[in-house]
Symmetry: C2
Subunit: 632 residues, 2 copies
Amino acid sequence: MERSISPDSILLLKTAQATGVTTAWDRYEAQLPQCGFGETGLCCRHCLQGPCRIDPFGVSGPKYGICGASADVIVARGLARSIAGGTASHSAHAKHLVHTMLKFSRGEAPDYSIKDKDKFYAVLQRVGITRDGKSEEELAGELAQLALDEFSEREDPPVWLKTTITPARMQKFEQFGLIPSGLDSAVAEVMHRTTNGVDADAVNILLGAIKCAVGDYTGMYLATDLSDILFGTPAPVMARANLGTLKENAVNIAVHGHNPVLSEVIVAQAELMREEAIAAGAPAGINLVGICCTGLEVMMRHGIPTATNSLSQELAILTGALDAAVVDYQCIMPSLPTVASHYHTAIITTMSIAKITGAHHIEFDEKHAGQKAQEIIRLAIEAFKKRDPAKVNIPPVVNDAWAGMSAETIVKVLALVDPQDPLKPLVDNIVNGNILGVCLFAGCNDVKITQDKTFVELVKALAAENVLILCTGCASGSFARHGLLTPAATEKYAGPGLKAVLTALGQAAGLGGPLPLALHTGSCVDNTRAASIATAIANKLGVDVSALPVVATAPEAAMEKAVSIGTWAVAMGLPTHVGVVPPVTGSPLVVQVLTQTAKDLLGGYFIVEPDPKAAAAKLVAVLKERRAGLGI
Amino acid sequence: MERSISPDSILLLKTAQATGVTTAWDRYEAQLPQCGFGETGLCCRHCLQGPCRIDPFGVSGPKYGICGASADVIVARGLARSIAGGTASHSAHAKHLVHTMLKFSRGEAPDYSIKDKDKFYAVLQRVGITRDGKSEEELAGELAQLALDEFSEREDPPVWLKTTITPARMQKFEQFGLIPSGLDSAVAEVMHRTTNGVDADAVNILLGAIKCAVGDYTGMYLATDLSDILFGTPAPVMARANLGTLKENAVNIAVHGHNPVLSEVIVAQAELMREEAIAAGAPAGINLVGICCTGLEVMMRHGIPTATNSLSQELAILTGALDAAVVDYQCIMPSLPTVASHYHTAIITTMSIAKITGAHHIEFDEKHAGQKAQEIIRLAIEAFKKRDPAKVNIPPVVNDAWAGMSAETIVKVLALVDPQDPLKPLVDNIVNGNILGVCLFAGCNDVKITQDKTFVELVKALAAENVLILCTGCASGSFARHGLLTPAATEKYAGPGLKAVLTALGQAAGLGGPLPLALHTGSCVDNTRAASIATAIANKLGVDVSALPVVATAPEAAMEKAVSIGTWAVAMGLPTHVGVVPPVTGSPLVVQVLTQTAKDLLGGYFIVEPDPKAAAAKLVAVLKERRAGLGI
């Protein structure tokens, strides 16, 4: 199998091979063949009597676990625990921002401020906090406390849920018992239900897992709100992508992980420490680049280049020009220090809950954020001094990439066409068929399939069918690296209707050309930005999201977080494509619930299709079905 | 391998074989050989790129997961997730009681009351709620709210932690970052840390897991407090044990699971519905028995017989005389409806989060508790009418068993000897060597080893060495079924010093003979009862628990809950024996931290030893080492 279609990845994978450095792709090959029980979800280790496994063929092997759990129960339990893992991750990210805001409100986070007052006031109003002449700190404190309460066991529905979805959806969630009693408690509930001897009805387990995923949505919405308030709502910005954004004549520092809480301070400090880098022998000063979602966060707010995605994070080190990788949490390979041991690169962990054996650890705290960022940058400058010029091997691959297409940005651009009713131009163009529908691209790269191939082929196929493309997380990164976040890509790949709309909007925005083919709506945690647009359209039309020609796809999903996101997308009423087969095929019942029953209950459902062309055809058919349902 | 040494189990396993009914033991055999990667903890499924596995021999197979996780990281992650599963289970149990108390305080739980006012006032005082002429409902509301806050992300240490451990232990927990920021958030934090790309330092992961287990302790303490307040603190009661407690001439209903919140109401209603059962043809009326911990809860509060433990729960159906099993949650085999399909037994699930495919579901709620209990009992009476007398096969095995040896009971008995200083007789007898030390027996039965064999051999060996025995959960059940909760067992098995002490106490208590060989301190969730005695002794002596000659053992551990309990026992400073090998042997580092490093950090540590005689020798040596440390 081809490992990647990304030219910079391809070049550096050759370097890895030549120098004998092991990467995720090599480790994947070493795992082949992978365990069939795990692949089908038919393995259970939820008690010490196991491991148990079920014979997928139902012939000579066991049909039940020791406790009597069936294939259905075992598969549902496993899926539920991955959703709990994903939800816990996003919620922790959100909670971290809540604590930052709480510290700001108490004067304990001197390097932070309310950067976006408009968003601050808008969120306060949405969640029901009155301003009444209170100070910014007081309001921030109230908001943080309200946000913190979302994590707790509570009697009222989460505020960030009930104020952000359609009334019809809220009613549906009430009807099916899908409103979590709190974000952390939703995770804990799944862990309880899936331990030995608790829930043994696969459908009931899945409903519990969906409830947890609704908690995931809630935490993600909260995280995006707080990030925007503290760091600014993304506005259109031209940035660059690929590993060619590393500079031979600069101290190259990659910020990697997910939470902007540290990287924002690094961005600010790097500016101030430019002279130190020059003095150390780097005439171009400090060159910050991004990896994974922390990278996308600073890309969309500051135009920092995105060097690469999670799957290819090791390759950044193989350029020989990366002086430091500063990581927070999630999707960070434990292998980084090992790869870095072949080079001069400093791997710097920063969070108490995410250390890596062999890395430098500089523990971050908001109270001394600036000082910690300086320490980190100084360590990078020290590492730069040890860089071996002979090993420098930066692939000459750079692409332009527009970022910052937040929901607010999209509405602002639309308002240039119709200031009174900004959504009208979008709705009109959906109704008149210029736009067939909307597709949100999300999710990871997955080592099991050729990097970026499904992303790129699928997006081109859908754009040709006039599907408006939003993207987040690794999808944004992938499209950026392939030049698809550009007006040129619109010219090249958009169908005529879509091209006309994007061109009209781009001209209204003064770009002198179309908007990019795909709109970089944010990082992975920002998927609710796209959901909020769908909800706004649904509310405008007086229908539920499940009636709209809107679909989602995670063509190269890899992480537990992708599983929880995909699940809430389904819960919100979106047909959701996945391009890798999740470990559920061991249970025909679970497969049926996820791909069929869910449609009857929630409107959304999963579509599993590894082939990009077939996936495009299925998604187009779904959009047409939805259009027919609306009579358009 | 012999399946069980319990005579009633042995008889009914023959019945199972003769009638072709499959039990957990058969399903275990069908799983053999179990997967070696799972058994050693060297399998990871925490993302969609897996399953990954590590070659335990480090020869030809993979040394790292795809992400680069080492054997150490993978093993630590897996262990941490089991601890999260265990903690989530106990916390959910506790939270359920909190909600019941909250409903009581609002007049929404008419079938509940403050049964034990002394305990109520004692707990209020301990947690710092002043009474000030408030009504019982108001106080209950305040207590419930304070308890609910324990689950939330919070800045202060949990109240049920800081008010129940020694100051030195609290300081140690602060020093090592082992104070959870909330019970649910502790679970969520582990789930985040163990997802792909977060914590990749095995020791750091283990510290996070221990923190979560400290949350487990906290939730368990809370659960016991609330159960005692709502249902009464257990006092000495003579009950009976084994499957021979089922009656041919009665409607036999087993209450099974863990939470007394439903079973207490069933006990009350069964009394009232006696005539209905007689009218249905059961001259002896309704015969309630217990299975697993729900059974132990009603045993210690009402003298309801304990029929059997979790591992042998299916065998209760094979008596042909069980008319209904009413289950709440945890340790309930999904196989029950399948086994019941060979008989007339009604399997009745009652909790929304714990359904079983094929069972009757009568959803319980506190508002209509009495009515729901009646529905359940009526269903049992209906099932009784379908009982086939030809299939009735009750093993003629019954043992006496003293229960109700709560911490309060133990102190009361000691106070009969020294009313001014109740702990003094116990401490004096430890100092003078009559009692070598104290051992808490806890944990499950595990199908991987002969049922009850390790329990019984180990307890006899330790009692002969004058070790005072406390027991909870399946240990209590096991000892009950083997006649070890009796004065006669003390006469037979206790060493001379222990016998003298138990006899003196028994005579002071007016028993005319010794206390039972093992003191049934409660159900599985009640392990903190034993911890509270250790803490009281430590506080009296002005030392930490880690200095005391006190050990714990889970000789036949099976559940995730046992893993979390064992881990907090270690955190509290107790050397903790486990008789089955947990899935950690794939990481020498993890094994070393759990069995050695933990001793340096916390005083407590794990001792893994499947052989009961060798285990006894090791525990005796540990107690002697602890005594030497105290200079006694």
